[in-house]
Amino acid sequence: MTEPSSIRASLETVLDPEAVLDDPKVLEDYAVDGVRPRAVVLPGNTDAVAEVVRLCLREKLALIPRGSGSKTAGGYPPERLDLVLSTERLHRIVDMDTANLTVTAEAGVRFQTVQTALAGEENRCYLPLEDPVTLAPEEICSDRENRGCFIPMSPPHSRTATLGGIVAANSSGPTRLLHGLPRDLVLGVRYVTPAGEIVGMGGKTVKNVSGYDVSKLMIGSRGSLGVLCEMTFRLLPLPERVGTAVFAFDDREDACGFVDRVFETPLLPAAVEVLSPRAFALLVPKQGDGPVDTVWGVALALEGVEEAVGRMIGVFKDMGTEAGARTHLHLEDEAHARFWEHYGHVEEILEGRYPNLVSVRVVHPISGYDTVMGRVEALSAERSLDAVGVFQAGSGTARILFLPSGGETEGVEERVLPVVEGLQEACAGLGGGLVVERAAPAWKEALPMWGPEPDALIVMKRIKEQMDPERLFCPGRFMGRI
């Protein structure tokens, strides 16, 4: 038996022994960009998180909060790392208030878990005020057939991603077009500050201007300002009908022409996605014998009341045909859900074959999507680097996976770097930027991990100094190596 590590001894002053992991093999699994932590902690509630953070403050230990690990590959390698704080045991759904259309859950709850629970939640009852006419204060319940709700988000990695991770990364998916980003859907957060205090901001109301909107600061801060422990989201009732329409076009121009026409209508699709040929081949079930390697796809997600979805299916189908769509695929219910789930796991589908894949998310003004697609195509052709791109046409963002083939190591960096840099320049030129969400640690020093540095970085640095003066939270990982 080996001596318990000194860090374990410290941690056991605030946690149960089983909430501290320090087996070298486990530590390897929790390594961040190849940097192994000295221990992994699994606090079981917010108070325990605060205890751990206060210990870190006393002993100057650097820590990185972590959910399921689906986004740990982003950011610069940590300058130093002592603890990984896993939210795995913060797994309670605290309050499903579907009559108020809110849900409160702990950070470690998996997105799919809460969605499943909400979909089956039938308690849409509330106690009305005593009624002078009937004088019978009985609960009133909705008689809607489908009573379930959902958090109107469609983040990538949805099978594993935790609520804390999604919010910490302001991570969004195709339906942000209709429903917005986590920053629009999170009503309140409870978190532990780098000073070890438990603070609560926002709450269960959809409007709230009491004090500064500190929740916004936490959303998207990637664990660099504290540990998110609990969040309240806005809900929507499950739509009456959902559907997906997928179109195949012979070239990019036709696909874009179709998309532009979609946005000229008063119709409200939930998502409008353009798929590069490789993405199309990967994500769309094969139809007939036509060639697939040059086909550009457009996938529309539709949701809403019966009549509206019905109309959109009809209108878009005709519009697609007029725009030159080669094939048209229509999916409903289960097939619809499977398609979009698959869609959000494109990285997982490819990572086995392409362990060195580089995942990039670009952000730009809406109309720039065409330019961005063109640049991705040209840059990857120039350097013969395969690329899979899914472009969220109406939302000004896209996810592009560059795929150096499996065994390739020689000269890869020389090919990947100029492509990412070229893309970053293109986005910056449009008034946007780019975030590298995954790359081999060795390449990160040379990659523009957070895109162009905005002049407001001076303010971000001051916020970091105020909130985390000891730089214990994810040191060096965020924009500007904050």
Partner: protein, 457 residues
């Protein structure tokens, strides 16, 4: 530096005509729509970002407090220069700089009147969604400062959900951009942080706002009730049913009677409460949803549901709602308006307690509010000339906020904290929470010169 010299230097920056120093001017700039009063030392009306920057750099060097403001429709004392100093009135910076339909954005200066932008966009069938009742006079800069709401925020979200970026002047005069036309923040969401910061973090000189295509169809209904409980229960029932209308507004008898005297919106004077329910979006299925809502109204003993037949009728229904705060002074010379917000399911209970509070203090309370998102606006009516009345009003107002906090709500949904609700911040925030906000303030404004003494106690 003495006052004369400071004023002279400001004159060099913005032109002497744009520096106001007369006693009359300074008193006028000491008001907003709240009950608080103050007096500035000097008022400056800059015409450009550069002028704002230079004026602020000067104030920074001299350690002079700065209060930026628009039209002064603020309802919480946020624009009152209660510590004196320099008021920056941004009314001259009132240009719509760009309307970019392909990117669905507009770039505006802070002094643009909210409704002016909205009317301009409507000509091309686009909307800027946030619609505070004061939109005829309020400025977009003020809306951003306060994170303003409005009836349509139930469906579309508040101001912060529609601001993509801003050019801001920091306390020392440095100009930086946060965000831009891109659809999400890069790095920390500074834009999200400064929206609603009530001018305490920086001064916004340009804003990039999100615009939307105008909805294809709109349906507006007026539901009339004999008891306020039935109206409140209907609100909970509609939300629980899973219908999220564009608006779900409520008005009680006190307010309706005042409104009818002033704008003749056609509200029934003998009813206890009305709801204004509006659906918008695609036309398909709207009729069926409207029927469902009417069915819910029936279930809760509605007296009558009127559906607006055309835009004229719709405008008339809304004119009453939007003019409500103004009309209320027909009943009493002064009012204090609350802004507490509660989870929607707690609304009926909270309403009842609001009435009880009014009775307890012997005060008349009218209610006109955003029922769909649980945002109350109890209007406590009074006469400042009556001795001791103001104290009772303040006590009742604070008690109502306490009730809101107790049921899991908050003390302000859209009007802000300003000076009036500083004391009540402790109802919803711990000392630790407030300390985090103070750190935010220090990061932006280390010398505490921007709208000092507001928002965070």
């Amino acid at each position: 530096m003495d006052r004369e010299k400071f004023i002279e230097q400001l004159g060099e920056i913005v032109g002497p005509d744009h520096v106001l120093t007369s006693d009359m001017d300074l008193v006028l700039y000491g008001y907003d729509a709240s009950l608080v009063r103050g007096k500035a030392d000097v008022v400056v009306l800059p015409g450009s970002t550069e002028e704002v920057s230079r004026a602020m750099a000067l104030a920074y060097e001299e350690g002079i407090p700065v209060v930026a403001r628009g039209s002064g429709t603020n309802l919480s004392g946020g624009t009152i220069p209660h510590q004196g100093g320099m008021v920056i009135h941004l009314s001259r910076m009132n240009r719509i700089l760009e309307i970019d339909f392909p990117n669905r954005t507009v770039t505006v200066e802070p002094g643009v009147i909210t409704l002016d932008l909205q009317n301009r966009l409507l000509r091309d069938s686009f909307i800027y969604a946030p619609d505070p009742a004061s939109q005829k006079v309020s400025t977009l800069g003020g809306n951003v400062g306060e994170n303003s709401g409005g009836p349509h925020c139930l469906k579309y979200g508040v101001t912060t959900n529609h601001v993509l970026g801003a050019e801001v002047v920091l306390s020392d005069g440095t100009v930086v951009w946060t965000g831009g036309k891109a659809q999400e923040p890069m790095g920390f969401d500074l834009t999200g942080l400064l929206v609603g910061s009530e001018g305490t973090l920086c001064v916004v000189t340009r804003m990039i706002l999100r615009i939307l295509r105008a909805p294809e169809a709109v349906k507006t209904m007026l539901a009339i009730y004999d008891t306020i409980e039935d109206a409140g229960n209907t609100v909970s029932a509609v939300i629980a049913e899973g219908i999220v209308p564009a608006t779900l507004e409520m008005m009680d008898q006190v307010v309706m009677q005042a409104v009818e005297e002033s704008v003749q919106a056609g509200y029934p004077l003998d009813a206890a409460a009305v709801l204004i329910i509006e659906l918008d979006g695609m036309a398909d299925g709207m009729e069926r949803q409207a029927e469902k809502i009417q069915e819910i109204c029936q279930r809760h003993h509605v007296r009558e549901v009127r559906v607006a037949k055309d835009d004229v009728e719709r405008a008339r229904l809304w004119a009453g709602r939007k003019g409500a705060f103004g009309a209320i002074t027909r009943l009493k010379p002064s009012y204090m308006v609350g802004d507490g917000t509660v989870p929607r399911t707690r609304l009926p209970e909270v309403l009842k307690r609001v009435f009880e509070t009014g009775e307890k203090y012997g005060l008349l309370i009218g209610n006109v509010f955003h029922a769909g998102d649980g945002n109350l606006h109890p209007l406590i009516l009074f006469d400042e000339r009556e001795e001791g009345e103001l104290e009772r009003v303040k006590a009742a107002s604070s008690e109502i906020l306490k009730i809101c906090a107790e049921v899991g709500g908050t003390i302000s949904g859209e009007h802000g904290i300003g000076l009036e609700k500083l004391h009540e911040m402790s109802f919803v925030f711990s000392e630790g929470d407030l300390e985090v906000m103070r750190r935010v303030k220090r990061a932006f404004d280390p010398r505490d010169l921007l709208n000092p003494g507001k928002v965070v106690p």
